[in-house]
Amino acid sequence: MKTITRRVLPGFGLSLGYTVTYLSLLVLIPLAACILRATNLTLEEFGRAAWSPRARAAYWLTFECAFWAAAINLVLGLVVAWTLVRYRFPLKTLIDALVDVPLALPTAVTGLVYANLYVSDGWLGQFLSPLGLEVAYTRLGIVLVLVFTGFPFVVRSVQPVLAELDAEEEEASAVMGASRWVTFRHVMFPHLLPPLLSGFTLAFARGVGEYGSVVFISSNIPFKTEIAAVLIRSRLEEFAYREAAAVAVVMLGFSFVLLTLISLVERWSQPHVK
């Protein structure tokens, strides 16, 4: 059928040509230029710029915070998805709608509000400070805003799978004497693992790239609370373009790896999802 439509339907050349041109001009050529700029450096210079102790600390912090945030989201997301699918409770529709807020709220607003809420005399910070929990301007704060930005991904990938789960399997398991926990662990969880994993990687990837909200809540101190994106920005402010490009190339490399990982997870989870 496709070969027929190609002869009959108009606009193939125009639409594909435009697509490729626009994609190249806006995305591909700039990306290539950035990589070229970094390759202008000798290997040693590149190493010094992209793999300095400060840069390594920044990468590590970025991944550490994104990982913990995604891990927390794994648990919270499963709980929220479970209650939304299985139970009836007051304000359910509102809560379901509120899950999407992190996707629509500008990151600058997130950062501003969280920083303001969690400073030691803020609405929520005043309760945490006496407990020795400082959130604003610390790593804990970075994890917290990343939990917020990544939250919808786990919920939204688990929710449809949970709703489609085969009731008979659960019934059978219960009738054969399995406790509710055993049923969940051995009958339901295997079905939920692929969407959980896919939600986790999406939240993780989002966390690695997040910048706006982190800038507000972190003190952005090198070696302590400086994530990779902030390092790039500081290099830019020093007009050290090549060093910035070198760090950016490393982050681009991580993005490609993550992108591949996401598509692998999605392909692997496809046969499990009905």
Binding site: C34, A108, L124, A167, V208
Partner: protein, 292 residues
């Protein structure tokens, strides 16, 4: 369908329609309370309190003060700039989305799968890296940037740079909505139009576009929300000149850094309002699109 249990001789479909009434699928009461409680707590602390806090802080000094803060010259300019930049970036991505969806959904060609994954690429790049990448190509330290400046074009540290950075970040959002929709539509109506003598453009305007209208609107709304809130990429290419290249999110940061909390929250409340309207529009459209 095989039934291992004699107690449940009902099909899965019937059971599902009654869920979660079935006994075996019911969790113990304490588990239910624990999980529902956790959900309230999580959504409340994570989402509801911050949302309320934005407006509470914005209006903490009274409505008059709120509008005085919003009426600040630089804040007004930031609102104006955001309202100028976003539609242009969205329009660019709409044209691209339509072209890409048409080419990919309607034709088979070598490199099709590569093209699909390349379209998603900008979303997985950190916004700051995206901004940097544009800056390296178009900034004054690059040959292209110098050539452009010699011909009177300033891109970086000027509104065109803001548009490009915004378009880069929101690049796949429209295409991603249109592609599956167009694929599911089928070609029958378009073929009918063509065989009745319509030209290619007539077919596009009268058949293809009307069929895509809700999906297109959905994509535009999502794309616009991201465009208006874009921070990282814009941050890099803007140069942050107050009253000139500060978009609204950048203005929020500047006010925050100047310890002008009421001002920052007033500006943030506008962005929050956009986000809330986006979510409402999105859920209305979702119902429309699902109904077909």
């Amino acid at each position: 369908m095989s039934n291992e249990s004699s107690e449940a001789p009902i099909s899965a479909a019937t059971l599902n329609s009654f869920q979660p009434r079935s006994q075996a699928r019911e969790d113990p009461a304490w588990v239910r309370w624990l999980l529902v409680g956790t959900t309230y707590l999580v959504i409340g602390l994570l989402v509801a309190v911050p949302l309320i806090h934005v407006f509470h802080q914005a209006f903490s000094a009274g409505i008059g003060e709120y509008f005085r803060k919003l009426g600040d010259r630089d804040t007004l300019h930031a609102i104006f700039l955001t309202l100028m930049v976003s539609p242009v970036a969205v329009a660019m991505n709409v044209v691209f989305g339509l072209a890409a969806a048409w080419a990919i959904a309607r034709f088979q060609f070598p490199g099709r799968t590569v093209l699909i994954s390349l379209i998603d690429l900008p979303m997985s790049i950190s916004p700051v890296v995206a901004g940097l990448v544009l800056m390296l190509v178009l900034g004054l330290q690059s040959p292209v940037g110098q050539w452009l400046r010699d011909h009177g074009w300033q891109i970086i540290f000027a509104p065109p740079g803001l548009v490009l950075a915004t378009a880069f970040i929101t690049f796949p959002l429209v295409a991603r909505e249109l592609l599956p929709l167009l694929e599911s539509e089928g070609v029958d109506e378009e073929m009918a139009a063509l065989s009745l003598g319509a030209s290619g453009w007539q077919m596009f305007w009268r058949v293809t576009l009307p069929n895509l209208r809700w999906g297109l609107l959905y994509g535009i709304i999502l794309c616009n929300a991201r465009a208006m809130g874009e921070f990282g990429a814009v941050h890099v290419v803007s140069g942050r000149i107050s009253g000139q290249t500060d978009t609204l999110p950048l203005r929020v940061e500047k006010l925050f850094q100047e310890y002008d909390n009421p001002g920052a929250f007033a500006a943030a409340s506008v962005l929050t309002l956009v986000a809330i309207l986006t979510l409402i529009g999105k859920s209305v459209l979702e119902r429309k699109v699902h109904r077909g």
